[in-house]
Every structure is written in C-alpha cells, then in structure tokens.
C-alpha cells in the first residue's frame, strides 16, 4: 500500500482528504490525516462574535463530520517531519511513513512575540478576535463598555484574512452607532501598511470608506511594545498611540512543529513554490494554505483555489508526469462594511483588486469594490457553502484561476 499523509485537518487538509480519497484507489492508497483538535472552527465567523451577530455554536462543528469514508484519522500532536526519512513523528513515539506528504498546519496568532501584548491587560482591556477565546471575551467586554479610545492594531505582516481588521472597524462603527455610543467611541486603525490595504485601487476605496465612517488611520506603524501601565502602544520609531480598548491582530506564525522540523522561514512558514505548491525542501512534500510562504493572502478562498491546483499536481507527481497546474495567487474576499452591506475584492499575484462585477452563476453577479447589500448576503451565504460544499471538496461554480470577465481596468 502506498501512503498519503496529511498534516492538519483545517480547511486545506479536510478539502484535500476529500478530493484525494475520490481519486486515489482504496486498495492502492492509504490516506491518513493528523490533527491535535477534534473541533472544526468556521474562522470567518469569529469576526461576527464580538458584535453579538454569531454565537459560539454558529462557528463550530466536529471535524469528523467532514471526513470521507476510507480516511484514517489520528488525533495527536505532531512532533516533527523528517523529510530525509519520509516519515513524521507524532507524540509518544508514534511514527508515520509516507510516500507523499501534504502540510496543512496553517498559521496561529503569537501574541507573545510583542512585548507587553500578553501582559496584565490581556483579555481585560486587550483582546484578539482571531481565536474563539478572544472573540468571546471581547463580546462580553463590548456588552458593558461605556466607550473611549478603541484602537485596532495589526502587529506584523503577513496575517490571516487581511481584510478582517477593516471589517472589524466597520462593524464597530455600526455597532456603537446603533447603541447610541458612537460619539463616545474614537476608532483608530493602526497598521504597518502604508494605507488601508496593499494595492492602490483597493487602498483608495477602503481608505475613503474609513474616512466616511470617521475612523482614523495611522499607517506605517510597526509595533515594538504595549505599555500596560499607561495604556498605549509604541512603535519602533517612538510613535505612541493611547488606547482604552486595544484589539490586536498579533504576529502570525506557522506551527512550531515546522520549526522543529527545520522546514520554516523566520515566521515558521514553509518555503513553497508559489506556482506548483511543491515544498522547496523535498519533491514528495506539498504545502497548502496558510502554512505556505506563497505571496498571496492567508485566507480560506485561497486554500479553496489552491486545492484544485494541488490535486492536479499531486496526481502528476504520483503518475510521474510534469506538473500541469499552476497557481495564480487567486484570492476572493467579501468585506463587511456594516449596516447590512459589504464589498468584494478578487485578485491574484499579478492583478490588483479592480472595480466592476464578479459573475457567480446562480446567485451573482456581485459588485467589485462597490458597497452593496448583495455582497453582505454573499458573505452570509458563504457560511452555508463552506460547511456543505467547500470542506467536502465538491465543485463550486467559481474558477480557481482568476478571471478578467466583468473587471474594469
């Protein structure tokens, strides 16, 4: 029996398990997936929790609900990968050999990387919303908060779901307006980027939205430390921003197991060919999603598009053919802008987010770089699509490769 091993049963690992089980013969191929946790989190839903729009139960399901028949599932921590021996060591001495390995161990928040962030005020006046614990703690805090300086800070690039902190401040504007507190809440968006986003057209559009909503932006801010006593964040250039409530997007890092395996870059992301998704370390190792260092967004949509490419290229490798699929960096993000409206961006390695319309058979089209009610519904419908279609590796009516149809240059 040949062995395909998948590390991580999040979005990428689960989709790949479903896709590969369909195409690899059961009597020839063992497929095994390893994850330390039994719960699958719908991570895009975390954003909605602080504002009382989703509860915990809206974003969790057992991982086992999404596994195909004929998949070996192991719940265990991973010690390390030994690429030279084609094997993975789990905790307590368990050894798994593989012919092909897919790394899908994602990224995690690492607040301990910023001095003072996980200090006395952590989960008292300082929160994150990229973990279920942080999102729930913040929801409780906002229930009774009387207002003050609300500072949203991104610690470092890259970070998961690059539009989420923008959506957070848009939601906060609407939430505190609806509560009659908006005049008592000063919202400041503090980012290491030179503006609201990376690419010129999206930055302009989103920057104007921030201005319209009276949200201040402090760009080019690289946080050096959090002063818990005087309640301010300080950057390396000495700029200080005071806060009453700090919502942080902490430094994102790959799994510590990647570092133990000697396979990571300085943030524990795995050096990966950005077109083929093959690891640069070994020919029989592939990487999907946030775990890879490819220069596109760390986001579920990217994982979904990569999965089609990875399936094809993995089959090429198994059958001894040259790679035929090439990932273009395609990302597609609905952006909530508050008051039941949203906008949408669609881009890849080479094409920045453009205005126009995005065709979506059956539901769309959706407006690109435009604020509309339809885009908000797109985001809500997506949760259903995620649980019922996407994780199970079923076909979606969207191309993995970015299309120019509808876009205006």
């Amino acid at each position: 029996m040949k062995k395909l091993l998948i590390l991580g049963a999040g979005t990428g690992g689960t989709i790949m398990a479903n896709k590969m089980r369909k195409v690899l013969e059961r009597d020839e191929w063992d497929i095994t997936i390893v994850d330390q946790f039994k719960t699958h989190y719908y991570q895009p839903g975390f954003l909605f929790i602080p504002f009382g729009m989703y509860k915990k139960n809206d974003v969790i399901k057992p991982k086992s609900d999404f596994f195909p028949v004929g998949l070996n599932v192991i719940y265990s921590k991973i010690d390390k990968i030994e690429p030279e021996n084609n094997r993975v060591l789990l905790e307590e001495g368990v050894v798994l050999n593989y012919d092909y390995l897919i790394i899908a161990t994602g990224t995690r928040t690492a607040p301990e990387e910023t001095p003072g962030l996980k200090g006395d005020l952590w989960y008292k006046d300082i929160f994150d919303f990229y973990t279920i614990e942080g999102a729930l703690a913040l929801a409780d805090y906002f229930k009774t908060w009387k207002g003050g300086k609300l500072v949203v800070n991104i610690a470092e690039l890259p970070y998961k779901c690059p539009v989420a902190p923008l959506e957070f401040v848009f939601f906060a504007d609407a939430f505190f307006t609806e509560r009659g507190l908006r005049d008592k809440v000063e919202i400041t968006y503090v980012t290491p980027l030179p503006g609201a986003f990376t690419k010129p057209r999206a930055t302009k559009m989103l920057g104007e939205l921030l201005k319209d909503k009276n949200i201040h932006i402090i760009p080019d801010f690289n946080i050096a430390e959090v002063d818990n006593v005087n309640k301010k964040i300080i950057d390396y250039a000495g700029v200080e921003v005071p806060f009453d409530c700090l919502v942080s997007v902490p430094t994102n890092m790959g799994d510590p197991m990647i570092e133990r395996s000697g396979m990571g870059d300085e943030l524990n992301f795995v050096p990966t060919d950005k077109y083929t998704l093959q690891s640069q370390k070994a020919e029989n190792i592939f990487v999907i999603g946030d775990a890879a260092n490819v220069p596109t967004s760390k986001a579920g949509s990217v994982v979904h598009f990569e999965a089609d490419i990875l399936q094809e290229n993995l089959m090429c490798a198994i059958e001894g053919r040259p790679f035929t699929a090439k990932f273009d960096g395609h990302a597609n993000c609905y952006i909530e802008t508050g008051y039941g409206k949203g906008t949408l961006i669609d881009f890849n390695y080479d094409t920045e987010p453009l205005a126009g319309s995005f065709p979506f058979p059956g539901i769309g089209p959706f407006g690109l770089l435009k604020v509309s009610r339809m885009n908000h519904y797109g985001k809500l419908i997506f949760r259903w699509i995620y649980w019922h279609i996407l994780l199970k590796g079923k076909e979606m009516p969207i191309d993995s490769e970015m299309q120019m149809a509808g876009k205006k240059l």
Partner: protein
C-alpha cells in the same frame, strides 16, 4: 521605466526612485541616494546594505523581522540607521526594488 543619473552613472529607476537593476549599484550611488534621504552612511550602514543586497539578489523576501535577526542590527538600531521608514529607505539606498507587502 525611467533613467536617472546618480553619482555620474545612468541607472534604471522606478517611478518612486527605486533602482530596477541591483547590478548597476555602486557605493557612490548609495552615498548619493542616502544624502537625498538625509542620511550620512557609516560602516554599519554598509554592512547592513551588503546583507540586504545578498538577501534580495538570492530571491528572498525582506522583512523588518528578518533584518532584526540579521545579526548586524536589532530592529531599534535599524530604525536609528534609517529613521522614519527604514525598510523603504534602506532598500532604496541598497539599490534593490521596493519590497512588496503581500497580505
């Protein structure tokens, strides 16, 4: 693409003044770009510039974190050497393209 004469040498630059071809770079060019940015280059600057050039020319991405781990400076010292926008200034003076921020 535009050309610009820096320290008597004609080089290809981007609209924002970053050199497109790192091989056209000389120490004299660095000194002159640094002057425009209000920086007098020291040996420490050149040590870091050389590290940045090696890193970029081998195709690796440049980050503030990476520079902090270079063994030449920590991040605070990096800000002191290139005040204000250190990564932008340092890359411009090092004759390499502006680092793309991918998120």
């Amino acid at each position: 693409m535009a050309t610009k004469t820096i320290a008597g040498i004609s080089v290809d630059v981007s609209g924002e003044g970053y050199m497109n071809d790192p091989s056209q770079w000389t120490k004299e060019i660095a000194t002159e770009i640094a002057k425009e940015e209000g920086i007098d280059l020291t040996e420490k600057h050149f040590e870091l510039i050389s590290w940045i050039r090696t890193k970029v020319m081998s195709g690796e991405a440049l980050t503030i974190r990476g520079i902090g781990k270079s063994g030449i400076v920590d991040i605070k010292e990096f800000y002191q050497l290139f005040p204000g926008a250190p990564l932008k200034k340092a890359t411009k003076i090092s004759g390499v393209p502006k680092p793309a921020s991918c998120i």
